[in-house]
Amino acid sequence: MIVLDIVNRTLRVAKALFASSAATKDVRFESMHNPSRYRGEHRVDYETCIGCDSCNKICPTHAITMKHLPFKKQNIVPEVNLSVCIFCGLCEDVCPTKPEKSIILSGGRYDMLSGGWHEDQNNFWVNVDVPQSYIDSRLEEEEAARVKKELAAKKKAAEAEAKKKAEAGKAPTEVQSGMPDFNKGVME
C-alpha cells in the first residue's frame, strides 16, 4: 500500500519532466488574450459626435469634461481624464450616434494605456485634437446656413409685410417687426 503510494507520487512528480512548457507566447510582443470587447483607451470621433452630453452625464466618476468648439451647434466633444476613468464603458453604451459610436473604448488593447514607455504615462488625458481645417469648414458651413436662413427670414418678413399692407387697406394694425436676428454679432 505504502509502496504503491510512493510510486504514484513519484510518477506524478516525474510527469513534470516530460511536460511541454506552458508558455507558448512571448507576451512582450503579443498579448495572451485579446478580446474584441476589451475596454481600452477611448477614441473620440469629433466628426460624428453630436454633442449631446450623455456620456458626460452618465460617467460615474466624472472623468469626462466637454471641450467647447467655436460652433453654434454640436459644439462640445468629450475629453477623458484617464486617471479618474474606471473603464466601465457606460459612455460608449449611451452614445446615440449610429452606426458607429462617437466615443469607443471597446476593441482597445491592453498596451494602449501603458504604451510601453514611461513617457506614455505622463499624459493622462484623451485629448481631442480638432484640426483647424475642420473648424474652418464647419464655420463656413454654419455661416452659409446662417446666411441662407437670414435670407429666408427676410423673404418671409417681406411677404408678411406685403400681405399686411394688402390687409391694411381695410384696417390699420400694429407694425410687426421681422424675426429677431439672434446671430448678430456672435459670428463676427
Partner: protein, 547 residues
C-alpha cells in the same frame, strides 16, 4: 407564515402584509414594543437578525429603521419597520443585541452612519468610518460631504492623531507585572488584507480580539445615491471584486422590482452563468487564501492558473476581467457571441483536467486535516444566533442557500441541493468551498447547455434578448432582494422617491460583516498561530466588510 402574523396581531401595527413568498412586511406603531416583539420572534424561531437599515427621510422628519429577521430553518422572514424621530437627541431605540447577538455590529454601524442611538447596547462604539467623522453622521441626508472634504489636511491629521493616541494608551490599563500586550495584527500582515485586529494577548494566548475595520471604506451606499440607476452598478460591483456579478444581480433585482420589469429568459440564464463563473473565480481565491494563511502558497498559484481561463471568458464577454460591470437593471449588459462559449469550454476543460490533482494534493492533505480539524468550530446554533450565511453556515450543517430558499433569475429551473458539512470547523469550511466549487461548475455546464440548446432552436436570440428597457425615472417604492453571493447572503434594500433618477437609499447587507464579528468569539482562548487560519477559513473580504 400565519403564526408570525398571529404574533404580530398582539402588537399595534400600522400594517402587516405579505411580501414575496418568504417575507412578511410589517410596521410597528410604537418603538416601545420592539423588545417584547423581539423576544416573541425569537421563541417563534426567527433567531437571526440579518441586518438593520435606517432610512433618513429628511422631508418627513422621520428616521425609519428597518429590521430584517430571518429563520434559516423554515425560511420564514420578517421585515419590520419602526419610525423614530429624526433629531439626534431623541433618535433612540432599545438595542436588540442582548436577544440577537448578530445585531451588535449592525447596530454599531447604524449608530455610526445615521446617529441612531441604541439603548443598553453593550459596546456602542463607532465603526467603519474614519476618525474625522467622529460625532457626525455621514449617511444622514443633511450631512455636507463637500464641506467635509474641504478640510482634507485637517481630516488626515485627525486620523493620524487618533491612531497615535490609541497606540499610546492601549496598554495603559494592562497589568505591568503580567506579559499581557496588545498586538496589531494587520493591516500589513501578509494574511490580513486591509483590516487590523487589536489582539489582546497574554504571551501566546489570545484574551480578546477587537477588529478595527474601515480601511477600505468608500461609502458605497452613499455613492450610489449620487448616480443614476445604471451608473450605480459600478459602485455596487465594487462591493467585492472577487464576485462582482452577483452583487450587481442583487441590485438589478431590486430595481426591476420597483420598476415592474420582467427580464427575458436569456438574461436570466446569462445571470446564472456569469454569476457562477464569478463564484468560481472567488472560490478559487478563497481556497488559495486558506492555504496561503497556513503558509503554503502552491494551491493559490495553481488556482490562479485555472481561474485565469474563467476570467478570460469574462473578459471576452464584458471587456474586463475583474470590474466587469456586466449586469444592469433590465438584463445583462452585452449580447452573447456564441464563439465565447468556446472559451468557456476551454476553461471548463482546464478545470476538469486539473481539479483532480488539487483534490489529491490539497483537499486530502493530511497535514491540513490535522491542523484545521478542530480549529474555529461553530455549532449550528451559533450560526443562527450570529446570522451567519454562505459556506460558513453550511459548514456547520445549517441548510441555507438563497438560490434554493428564494430562487431568483433562472435558479428555480435548476434543481440544486444543499451541500453541507457537519462539524463546522475550519477544515469543514475549506471542504465546503471545494464542494461548492464543483457544484458551481456543474451549474455552469447546465446553464451553458441550456442556452446553447435554446439558441439552436431559436427560442433565444443571444444578440438581442439580453436587455429589456427599464425606465430612467422610477416610481416611489422600496424593495429588498437577496442573492447567494460567493461569501454568503447579500441583502439589498432599495428605496426610491417619486420620479427618482437615482436611488434614495441602498442598504447593502454584506456577509463578511457578520463573519468578522465572529473573530473575537472564535479566537478567545486560542493561540496567536490560530489567527491566520481562522481568519482565512471565514472567507472574509474587506471590500464588502467596509463597503
Amino acid at each position: 407564515m400565519e403564526s408570525i402574523k398571529k404574533l404580530l396581531e398582539k402588537f399595534s401595527c400600522e400594517y402587516v402584509e405579505d411580501y414575496k413568498k418568504t417575507w412578511i412586511k410589517a410596521k410597528l406603531n410604537s418603538k416601545e414594543d420592539l423588545l417584547s416583539l423581539g423576544e416573541v420572534l425569537k421563541t417563534e424561531g426567527l433567531r437571526s437578525l440579518s441586518t438593520i437599515s435606517p432610512t433618513d427621510f429628511l422631508d418627513a422628519d422621520v428616521m425609519e429603521v428597518n429590521y430584517f429577521f430571518e429563520d434559516l430553518d423554515t425560511k420564514r422572514n420578517l421585515w419590520l419597520k419602526v419610525d423614530l424621530p429624526r433629531d439626534e437627541e431623541s433618535c433612540e431605540i432599545e438595542s436588540l443585541t442582548p436577544l440577537f447577538p448578530s445585531a451588535e455590529w449592525h447596530e454599531r454601524e447604524a449608530f455610526s452612519m445615521f446617529g441612531v442611538n441604541f439603548l443598553h447596547h453593550p459596546d456602542l462604539r463607532e465603526i467603519i468610518k474614519s476618525e474625522d467623522f467622529t460625532g457626525v453622521y455621514p449617511f444622514r441626508k443633511d450631512f455636507d460631504w463637500d464641506a467635509h472634504e474641504k478640510n482634507q489636511v485637517q481630516n488626515v491629521q485627525q486620523i493620524v492623531d487618533a491612531f497615535k493616541k490609541e497606540q499610546e494608551e492601549n496598554e495603559v490599563d494592562l497589568d505591568p507585572d503580567s506579559s499581557e500586550t496588545i498586538l496589531n495584527w494587520g493591516p500589513t500582515h501578509p494574511a490580513s488584507g486591509p483590516i487590523r485586529l487589536r489582539v489582546h494577548c497574554d504571551g501566546e494566548e489570545v484574551i480578546s480580539v477587537d477588529p478595527d475595520i474601515g480601511y477600505v471604506w468608500r461609502a458605497l451606499e452613499h455613492l450610489v445615491t449620487k448616480k443614476d440607476f445604471v451608473g450605480a452598478i459600478v459602485a455596487v460591483e465594487r462591493l467585492c471584486f472577487m464576485d462582482n456579478i452577483n452583487s450587481m444581480t442583487a441590485y438589478a433585482l431590486a430595481v426591476e422590482e420597483i420598476a415592474g420589469v420582467e427580464i427575458t429568459p436569456f438574461a436570466k440564464w446569462m445571470r446564472v452563468l456569469l454569476g457562477e463563473v464569478a463564484r468560481v473565480s472567488s472560490h478559487f481565491m478563497g481556497l488559495g487564501m486558506f492555504f496561503n494563511n497556513m503558509g503554503l502558497h502552491t494551491l493559490a498559484m495553481w488556482n490562479m492558473d485555472t481561474r485565469e481561463f474563467f476570467l478570460d471568458f469574462l473578459e471576452s464577454y464584458s471587456g474586463a476581467r475583474i470590474a466587469t460591470a456586466a449586469v444592469e437593471p433590465g438584463g445583462v449588459r452585452y449580447g452573447l457571441d456564441m464563439v465565447m462559449f468556446d472559451e468557456l469550454q476551454k476553461a471548463l476543460d482546464k478545470f476538469d483536467s486539473s481539479i483532480g490533482e488539487v483534490e489529491a494534493v490539497f483537499v486530502k492533505n493530511p497535514t491540513m486535516k490535522m491542523r484545521a480539524h478542530n480549529v474555529g468550530r461553530l455549532s449550528g446554533d451559533e450560526v443562527h444566533q450570529f446570522g451567519l450565511s454562505g459556506i460558513v453556515a453550511r459548514a456547520s450543517g445549517v441548510q441555507t442557500d438563497i438560490r434554493i430558499d428564494e430562487p431568483y433569475d433562472a435558479y428555480s429551473e435548476l434543481d440544486l441541493e444543499y451541500i453541507t458539512q457537519e462539524r463546522g470547523s475550519a477544515q469543514d469550511r475549506f471542504m465546503m468551498l471545494f464542494a461548492e466549487l464543483k457544484q458551481s461548475i456543474e451549474i455552469i455546464k447546465k446553464a451553458k447547455a441550456h442556452i446553447e440548446e435554446k439558441v439552436a432552436s431559436e427560442e433565444m436570440n443571444p444578440t438581442k434578448d439580453h436587455m429589456v428597457k427599464v425606465p430612467k425615472k422610477l416610481p416611489k417604492g422600496e424593495a429588498i432582494s437577496r442573492v447567494e453571493w460567493a461569501r454568503g447572503e447579500v441583502l439589498m434594500h432599495l428605496v426610491t422617491e417619486e420620479k427618482a433618477k437615482s436611488p434614495y437609499r441602498l442598504k447593502m447587507r454584506a456577509p463578511s460583516f457578520n463573519h468578522t464579528m465572529m473573530l473575537n468569539y472564535l479566537l478567545k482562548g486560542r493561540t496567536l498561530s490560530d489567527i491566520p487560519l481562522i481568519f482565512g477559513s471565514l472567507y472574509i473580504c474587506q471590500g464588502d466588510l467596509d463597503r
